[in-house]
């Protein structure tokens, strides 16, 4: 291995990389907000007593969980405008695709959390005269959120990584910018390594936080 590393060409491209990083962060953050909120709603739908509500919600989840994220993104970018004859700007479209994908995964995480709420708590809510929505908001959601938090955060990190897929449909995120620089400067090694490190640096702290949370939950359970 006698490859000469050369990072000089990057100096002229810092601005572009920064712009790309901003797009990536925007995609990841907004998708997470969408996924965290809609995910809980969707989870409640899958637990509904009426099958005609439960069933479509479950189908939505399964479809997003059982097809490639890349395909979902490509589908949204090519097919949505054709089907509905609308133009949506690429970033919004990216958020829509990634957000709905995350919604499906988060709904599953929330559901495990909701089902872990002891039956007695629901009985206690009836005994205390709480209305159903109060029960959901004050008793079920906080407990489900606590149980589901590590998984929700892990899902959040993976949507950051999946957001790199929008580069394939030419949204100018970090991955896309990196790809263009790599091609223009003929320096794939330096560029891709740098991009990989940026994604890694963004994910690592959250991943560590998840591990810490899980350890804490484990010790809490052991008591």
């Amino acid at each position: 291995m006698n490859y000469q590393f050369d990072f000089h060409f990057l100096t002229g491209n810092f601005g572009a990389l920064w712009e790309g990083l901003k797009v990536t962060l925007q995609l990841a953050l907004v998708s997470n907000v969408v996924g965290l909120i809609l995910g809980f709603g969707l989870c409640l739908l899958t637990l509904n007593r009426w099958f005609f509500i439960r069933w479509p919600a479950q189908l939505f989840i399964e479809f997003f969980r059982c097809t490639p994220a890349l395909l979902q993104i490509v589908w949204f970018f090519y097919c949505l405008p054709m089907l509905f004859n609308v133009f949506i700007d690429p970033i919004t479209m990216g958020v829509l695709a990634l957000g709905l994908n995350l919604t499906a995964f988060n709904a599953e995480a929330y559901r495990a959390g909701v089902q872990a709420v002891p039956r007695e708590h629901l009985d206690a809510c009836v005994a205390l005269g709480l209305r159903p929505w109060q029960r959901t908001l004050y008793v079920i959601l906080p407990q489900a959120l606590r149980t589901a938090l590590p998984v929700l955060m892990t899902n959040g990190i993976s949507i950051l990584q999946q957001s790199a897929l929008v580069a394939i449909v030419a949204v100018a995120d970090l991955m896309y910018v990196g790809k263009s620089i790599a091609t223009e400067a003929y320096r794939p090694l330096e560029t891709y390594s740098l991009i990989a490190l940026i994604y890694f640096a963004l994910s690592l702290p959250i991943a560590q936080l998840v591990q810490w949370l899980e350890r804490r939950q484990d010790t809490a359970l052991a008591r």
């Binding site: 291995m1 006698n2 490859y3 399964e62 479809f63 969980r65 059982c66 097809t67 490639p68 994220a69 890349l70 395909l71 979902q72 490509v74 589908w75 090519y78 097919c79 054709m82 089907l83 004859n85 990190i157 990584q161 999946q162 957001s163 790199a164 897929l165 580069a167 394939i168 991955m175 990196g178 790809k179 790599a182 794939p188 090694l189 891709y192 390594s193 991009i195 990989a196 994604y199 890694f200 994910s203 690592l204 991943a207």
Partner: protein, 221 residues
């Protein structure tokens, strides 16, 4: 706009070829990655930091970066670094296997750690020690517990394998995009491809549930 889903069927042979390639990549990388992942999980239990830290870093690095970058890195950078030409198929298998190895080692590690300490106590009480304990009591239970998450990993790998289309491998995703471009019918073809992926992945995810309720409840708890 007129949708005509019947047109999909006239391309079934091409789509089937794409699916076959996707499955071939998934299966081979799943097998390779599971074996490597198992070995890696054992290394990660090592007491020596010289082994534990690099292996841990490998897992974190592959779990903490997009697979797309890993793929591009191996595809574009490996030849540069080593000054040799790597056939596309080899780079793709390498990338998917490394990814599978990383997530699978975590699966096995979690399974090994999930064996309750009472099982270790029982082994001590019966005098079943060291390799006997590991081979007859700990590994079998860990492997049983690892089956459902391992299957989920295979489903992930199956879905993620769609990325190889971006480096020009003619898998199901690639074929689907190609036909939808050439026929200008993305809605029909992309939806059809989505349904094909779904039809493969969905039963596998159901299988995970069945194994958890039937097999594990009987043999692992």
């Amino acid at each position: 706009m007129q949708l005509d889903f019947m047109v999909v069927f006239s391309y079934w042979q091409v789509l089937a070829k794409g699916l076959a390639l996707t499955l071939a990549f998934t299966v081979s990388c799943a097998v390779l990655g599971s074996v490597c992942g198992f070995l890696l999980s054992l290394l990660r239990l090592s007491k020596s930091p010289l082994i534990r830290i690099p292996t841990g870093l490998y897992v974190e690095l592959f779990r903490g970066t997009p697979l797309l970058i890993q793929l591009f890195w191996i595809f574009f950078c490996l030849p540069v670094v080593f000054g040799i030409s790597v056939p596309p198929y080899v780079s793709v298998v390498l990338a998917l296997t490394l990814y599978m190895t990383a997530i699978t080692s975590e699966t096995f590690r979690g399974a090994l750690k999930s064996i309750p300490s009472e099982q270790h106590d029982a082994c001590t009480a019966l005098g079943v020690a060291s390799w006997n304990k590991v081979f007859y009591v700990i590994f079998p239970q860990a492997l049983l517990r690892a089956v459902p998450p391992l299957l989920s990993n295979v489903v992930s790998l199956f879905k993620e394998s769609a990325l190889i289309s971006s480096v020009g491998i003619a898998d199901l995703m690639f074929v689907g995009q190609n036909i939808s471009n050439s026929t200008a019918r993305p809605v029909e073809f992309l939806s059809a491809v989505a349904v094909i992926y779904f039809l493969v992945a969905f039963p596998l995810t159901r299988l995970v549930g069945v194994i958890e309720t039937r097999m594990l409840r009987r043999y692992a708890y």
